[in-house]
């Protein structure tokens, strides 16, 4: 997988010049931004794409016959094609959502709609009821857990999960036992937002498809950081967010295999997603329009495409390789500091460039506050993964997450900061 040559330090310094926010001091200190796993920063090309749209093309898409409307529609659909290409999909297979959470909820509600009332014949394959099972994992972000809990509550289906090992990976032996003939949906994350674990997608897809289940991949932490090809991975659906991949907030995408998307019942209904509407009945457009009722986040979609272009031009394989180097530097550095326990795969194992850790005797919130005073921005808390933290006997942890603009110097500053935490709080 790591076939790319890592971005060099010189290249990273050049990349940093494209990100105005990174030059802003915080608390009188140079900013060390290690929270890209939560939200990433935006390069000028993304900011400019959004501004350029408002200055030159702003208009309603997919309606109106005037020139501006045509330009806006073109830019909007070009953006879809760009984002589709970025993940190896066809443009008809990309539905805009407001973020990955919205994409997962869209799926859960579409399955719901296929489970009650009068259902079109092609949508019956998505119906769920008592006896059916949805399988998730113990490492899921709440966004890939709660919507499925709710779907089970609405339909009477049962939610099961693949447990975690002590090493921070999925228990694949258990996965083979949990996934079976009753499984209708397997939803799991490509990369854990807490552990940094990169899950073995082919093995899990193999188990699910052999059982006749649909696969939903949460690609939030993978689309921004490694070369992602949804076709090669053979997943049925995937979701990801713009703001984690250098784009703006308020935009994300749902990928679905075309024949599935076209058969899936709509969720949000209204304008722009219909064919013929009478006072009694409506017909629906094929995907992606059938899932895009109402005015869409047009400038955000265009800016997300600019982000995808920026990443592609930099080279996803090279970004991934660079992050592999940073991950090991963080992990090795942290393991040399007394009282630090890191979560997830041990040093040497391929992982995402994010490391969560516990500081013995100091609460994560205090760790984050101490680092913040030095201009170091990390995430503290349960990172929307309470079951995962409970599994490892914690209620919270501190997470540092790097991206293509992170320097080795920043990682070192972070490590130095962490080394001072226990002394400051008087913990021996």
């Amino acid at each position: 997988m790591n076939s790319g040559v890592p971005l060099t330090d010189v290249e990273v310094l050049r990349i940093r010049n494209d990100f105005p926010l990174l030059a802003h001091p915080v608390n009188g200190r140079e900013l060390v931004y290690l929270d890209s796993g939560a939200t990433s920063q935006n390069p000028l090309s993304v900011l400019e794409a959004e501004q350029e749209f408002y200055e030159q093309r702003n208009s309603a898409v997919h309606r109106g016959a005037h020139t501006l409307a045509a330009h806006a529609t073109l830019a909007f659909e070009d953006a879809r094609a760009t984002v589709a290409q970025f993940v190896g999909a066809r443009e008809e297979e990309i539905v805009w959502t407001s973020n990955a959470t919205a994409g997962l909820n869209l799926l859960a509600y579409a399955f719901s709609n296929a489970s009650v009332g009068e259902v079109a014949p092609e949508a019956r394959r998505f119906a769920l009821g008592p006896g059916d099972e949805i399988v998730v994992t113990e490492m899921e972000h709440h966004a890939n857990l709660v919507p499925w809990q709710e779907l089970c509550r609405r339909t009477g289906a049962t939610l099961r999960h693949i447990p975690l090992t002590d090493e921070g990976t999925l228990d694949l032996e258990e996965a083979a036992r949990v996934i079976g003939p009753r499984t209708k949906v397997l939803a799991f994350t490509h990369v854990s937002n807490v552990l940094g674990t990169i899950n073995p997608v082919p093995e899990l897809v193999g188990l699910a498809h052999a059982a006749g289940a649909l696969v939903v991949l949460d690609a939030c932490q993978s689309a921004p950081h490694l070369p992602l090809d949804v076709k090669a991975l053979d997943v049925d659906f995937a979701v990801f967010s713009g703001h984690k991949m250098l784009g703006p907030t308020g935009i994300g995408a749902l990928y679905g295999r075309q024949e599935l998307l076209d058969a899936l019942p709509p969720v949000t209904t209204g304008g722009s997603m219909i064919t013929t509407v009478t006072m009694d009945h409506s017909g629906y457009l094929p995907a992606p329009q059938r899932f895009e009722a109402g005015t869409q986040p047009v400038s955000q979609a265009i800016a997300m495409a600019a982000a995808a272009r920026y990443l592609s031009e930099t080279g996803m394989d090279r970004i991934h390789a660079r992050e592999g180097v940073l991950a090991q530097r963080m992990l090795e550095g942290l393991s040399g500091i007394p009282g630090i326990r890191t979560l997830g795969p041990a040093a040497g194992v391929e992982r995402a460039a994010l490391v969560s850790f516990d500081v013995d005797g100091v609460h994560a919130h205090d760790v984050g506050q101490y680092l913040d005073a030095q201009g170091i921005a990390v995430r503290v808390g349960h990172h929307c993964a309470q079951p995962l933290h409970r599994r490892y006997g914690l209620s919270a942890s501190t997470r540092a997450s790097a991206y293509l603009y992170t320097t080795e110097g920043e990682v070192d500053a972070f490590l130095e900061g962490v080394a001072g935490v226990r002394g400051f709080f008087g913990v021996k």
């Binding site: 608390n27 100091v362 609460h363 994560a364 919130h365 205090d366 506050q369 101490y370 005073a373 503290v380 808390g381 349960h382 309470q386 933290h389 209620s395 919270a396 400051f424 709080f425 008087g426």
Partner: protein, 161 residues
């Protein structure tokens, strides 16, 4: 004093370790009913996972009710744990009306964004938490035990003979 040192004053770090009043047992914290004159409240900060269960009993005739006992069980950052410890120190010395007033006073200080300094004569060691009001993300940490005490006090007074 740096802003970090003003947030984490020595007395705060000491209380976070000493945890005065932090003697409520796991078993008691899980109970769902209490004697008359006792109230219990569980508070959780879903952002960081900080948790506290606080139990409070009142005694004495109406009009001269005092805080008989205040105990808590908690897990969280140094601000939330120190705050619970400081509150416990105060509760031993006041009657129910005074405690309610102190909780209100503490809330005013914490919500002031650094414009109101707590009075040590009134709030005791908890006045050292005044600096937390400049860190909006941490106000909830400092308030956790006090919000729990407010609710427990209301229950205790409502059921007192």
């Amino acid at each position: 004093m740096s802003s970090l040192e003003s947030l984490y004053q020595q007395t705060i770090l000491e209380h976070a370790k000493a945890r005065h009043g932090g003697s409520l047992s796991e078993v008691a914290a899980c109970e769902t009913s209490w004697p008359a004159g006792t109230g219990q409240c569980h508070q959780l900060n879903p952002v960081c996972g900080d948790e506290i269960t606080l139990r409070l009993s009142v005694s004495g005739a109406e009009g001269e009710r005092r805080i008989e006992s205040l105990e808590w069980l908690g897990n969280g950052c140094s601000i939330s744990m120190a705050s619970a410890s400081m509150l416990s120190d105060l509760a031993g010395e006041v009657d129910v009306d005074e405690l309610a007033t102190l909780i209100e006073e503490f809330r005013t200080v914490l919500r002031s964004r650094g414009t109101v300094e707590g009075d040590p004569e009134e709030l005791g060691d908890a006045a050292a938490l005044s600096g937390v009001s400049k860190f909006p993300a941490r106000v909830k940490c400092a308030m956790l035990a006090w919000v729990a005490a407010e609710d427990a006090l209301r229950q205790a007074v409502a059921t007192a003979a």
